[in-house]
């Protein structure tokens, strides 16, 4: 019953520490993380998928990043960044760095896998129609694979850590 | 639905024809596995018909019985273990070696592992693959080799009845011909009741002793021996399907080259001088043979040369072996640049040559008799 009491207490929803504010904050972290991680992981994935160069590097890197203990990294960054900021940013920046590091590998690998899995015949056809190399990537490969890249973004789990003040 | 099922059951029966299967009514089919027979179904709804026999598809009505036993009353797994099944791309198990693949069916019918593996090795040899293939995995084999393994696997449990669903259609024409020839040889050795589905009319005519032709929609157009199908197509559908070349195809059934009078052919060996070749020749062309009297190709005396060499030979002529149908001999005659078709014995050694005139006289003699025989 305490659970519902908590849930229906208007006090708990509003205000700078309320559920709504926390939701917004959570969503904000998620979106910023996704944008940064997408900006890093997506071009890498496209490049590797398109040229076939550095496949082992990407796969190895992705797995190594997955193994990075997020908590350890967060603590490390908080201690290292602490002296650099006086505001809340002392916690926000390390969190974002960790979240981006966690989000990059899946975006990179699924983009790579998606681009590499495009039917080579469709790519040949695009080349045959005299669409340039980079144009062919965006006109034939990109639309064909959008769908496989985005679930990976969706899979991203933004873990919530206790905010330390 | 009932009508369709009944029709399909009739197809199954029709495919086996008289001796081994009969439709006791439009809704009951009996398959006997006691006598060896190859039935071939071609054209529509064929795969469905085949799968009804081992109940991969269940007929919603009607009945199929094997050796008097209705299949719908049997345990479906036991039924399938009694029936060999070969499909288009072989469907081998990628995670098992070739011998393990072959041994699978024997293992399923309760044979011990060492015994099953021994059988598998024997069968591997039988389908024309050497022991070096035994421990390879399917991906290390060509399409034709996989198909041979697929046939061996179906045979390993010594089934009474074999179903083959377009077994040779996924391989290239050269391999397909090899597989078909081996199929005929194998069938002479083992004598199983086989029902095969194909969309290739030549394959049906070559392999089947009863061929059922089905129309679009699955109704039976005609069931007959290959010879009858060519000589007496039941209607325009069958006539169109057996094709424009049916006169030529019929030569495949119009007796063998043995009846044709052969003329001995002068030959030269590789390395012979131009004068030796000219002395031996009957005209512009002279046949070159190797040390075992096996024909190599024709030497053109109108072209300048000093010695007969392998790379100077004209290779356009095909060879016809003794015992092959007239179709092969006629082809040899038509393709030889000298106009003389080369006939060899079973070991490939030269027996002599035949001219178009000699072939056509045999055809003329035989024609009236053969075409008359094909009449019902």
């Amino acid at each position: 019953m305490r659970f519902f009491g908590y849930l229906f207490d208007p006090e708990k929803w509003g205000g700078p520490e309320g559920i709504l504010a926390l939701c917004g904050q959570h969503l904000g972290y998620t979106l910023v993380t996704l944008m940064i991680a997408g900006a890093i992981g997506f071009p890498f994935g496209v490049y590797v998928g398109h040229t076939g160069r550095g496949v082992t590097l990407v796969a190895g890197l992705a797995n190594a990043l997955r193994a990075l203990p997020s908590l350890g990294l967060l603590v490390l960054l908080v201690i290292l960044c602490g002296p650099l900021f006086t505001s809340d940013l002392a916690f926000a920046v390390p969190s974002l760095i960790v979240l981006v590091l966690l989000a990059v590998p899946p975006i990179m690998t699924t983009t790579y896998a998606g681009i590499a899995a495009v039917d080579p015949a469709a790519v040949d056809a695009a080349r045959g129609m005299a669409i340039g190399r980079s144009a062919s990537s965006f006109m034939s490969k990109f639309p064909a694979r959008c769908r496989s890249s985005f679930p990976a973004c969706g899979m991203q789990r933004c873990r919530s850590y206790p905010r330390r003040r | 639905m009932k009508a369709i099922v009944a029709k399909r059951l009739a197809e199954v029966a029709a495919a086996l024809g008289g001796a081994s299967a009969r439709a006791t009514s439009a809704r009951k089919v009996a398959i006997g596995s006691d006598c060896s027979s190859q039935g071939i179904i071609i054209w529509n709804a064929k795969t469905t018909s085949l799968r009804m026999i081992n109940r991969l598809i269940t007929p919603s009505s009607g009945s199929i019985s094997i050796d008097g036993e209705p299949t719908e009353k049997m345990d479906v797994v036991k039924l399938r273990r009694r029936i060999g099944y070969v499909i288009q791309h072989a469907g081998l198990f990628p995670h098992r070696t070739v011998v393990e693949n072959i041994a699978t069916t024997a293992r399923l019918s309760g044979v011990t592992r060492p015994k099953a593996l021994a059988t598998a090795r024997e069968l591997l040899d039988r389908v024309g693959l050497g022991g070096e293939f035994a421990n390879r995995y399917p991906w290390q084999l060509s399409g034709g080799q996989q198909q041979r393994v697929g046939v061996a696997r179906a045979l390993a449990s010594d089934p009474q009845l074999m179903l083959m669903d377009e077994p040779f259609s996924a391989v290239d024409p050269v391999v397909r011909t090899q597989l078909q020839d081996e199929f005929l040889r194998l069938q002479r050795d083992i004598g199983k009741t086989i029902i095969m589905v194909t969309h290739d009319i030549d394959e049906a005519l070559k392999l089947g002793n009863q061929v059922a032709m089905l129309r679009t929609g699955g109704t039976l157009a005609q069931v007959a021996t290959p010879r009858q199908l060519l000589a007496q197509p039941a209607d325009n559908f069958v006539a169109d399907f057996v094709g424009r070349d049916r006169g030529y195809r019929f030569l495949g059934f119009a007796g063998t080259a043995d009846a044709v009078r052969l003329v001995s052919e002068p030959t030269v060996r590789l390395g012979a001088t131009v004068d030796e070749a000219k002395a031996a020749a009957l005209g512009r062309w002279v046949l070159a043979v190797d040390d075992h009297e096996r024909p190599l190709g024709w030497v053109d005396l109108d072209r300048p040369f000093t010695h007969v060499r392998q790379d100077g030979l004209n290779l356009s002529g095909t060879l016809s072996a003794q015992g092959e149908p007239l179709r092969a001999l006629l082809d040899a005659v038509l393709s030889a640049p000298s106009g003389r078709g080369v006939v060899t014995d079973a070991d490939g050694r030269l027996l002599g040559t035949a001219t178009l005139a000699s072939v056509s006289s045999v055809l003329e003699d035989g024609r009236s008799r053969d075409w008359a025989e094909a009449q019902p």
């Binding site: 797995n63 997955r66 193994a67 | 099944y85 499909i87 198990f93 019918s109």
Partner: protein, 214 residues
Amino acid sequence: MNLDWIIAEAGTIGTLFLWHFGLSVVPVLLSLVLAIPLGWLAHRSGFMRPFWLGLAGLFYTIPSLALFVLLPLVLHTRILDPINVVVALTIYALAMLVRTVADGLSTVSPETLQAATAMGYRPAARFLRVELPLAVPAITAGLRVAVVSNVSIVSIAALIGTPQLGSLFTQGLQLRFLTPIVTGIVLCIVLAALLDLAVVWAGFRLSPWNRSNK
């Protein structure tokens, strides 16, 4: 970095490493055992397949810390009981592996399955002797991701006081001392690499037929 500290604490670090190892491996093995039947069900569920797989994936979005704290209430265990961590990590690994198993099963070609049925395999035997062995390479790939991610997630359990390498992080934060943190990170990566190798090796041994092994 302070090497003296590492040498002095070597015994404790070793214990933490072993705990971390156990907490990483046991949940993955448990979830694999559970994922095989569940993945099979999802694989066989036809048009409901995306729904079941989506539902399984949803478990992955539960914040790990929240799960660590909630589980004692659900399971009636003590808050420091490692069982909580094992159950939570099993749920995460399961969320990933159900999809892996279902995808692995769907890599088996229909022709192979049809041949197996036609030659008289019973359904259970067909699954165990044909489908599952053929799904091994795909399952291995998924298992690598699960096991490596798990090593990372285990460390979060330090926040609720379960001993493992993550304890070095909380300790380092309290003391504002970098050595234990760096040691913890390095050992986590080493452990992840070792487990990854072990999975690759097991997958290799279980699928000698796989052409990418050559």
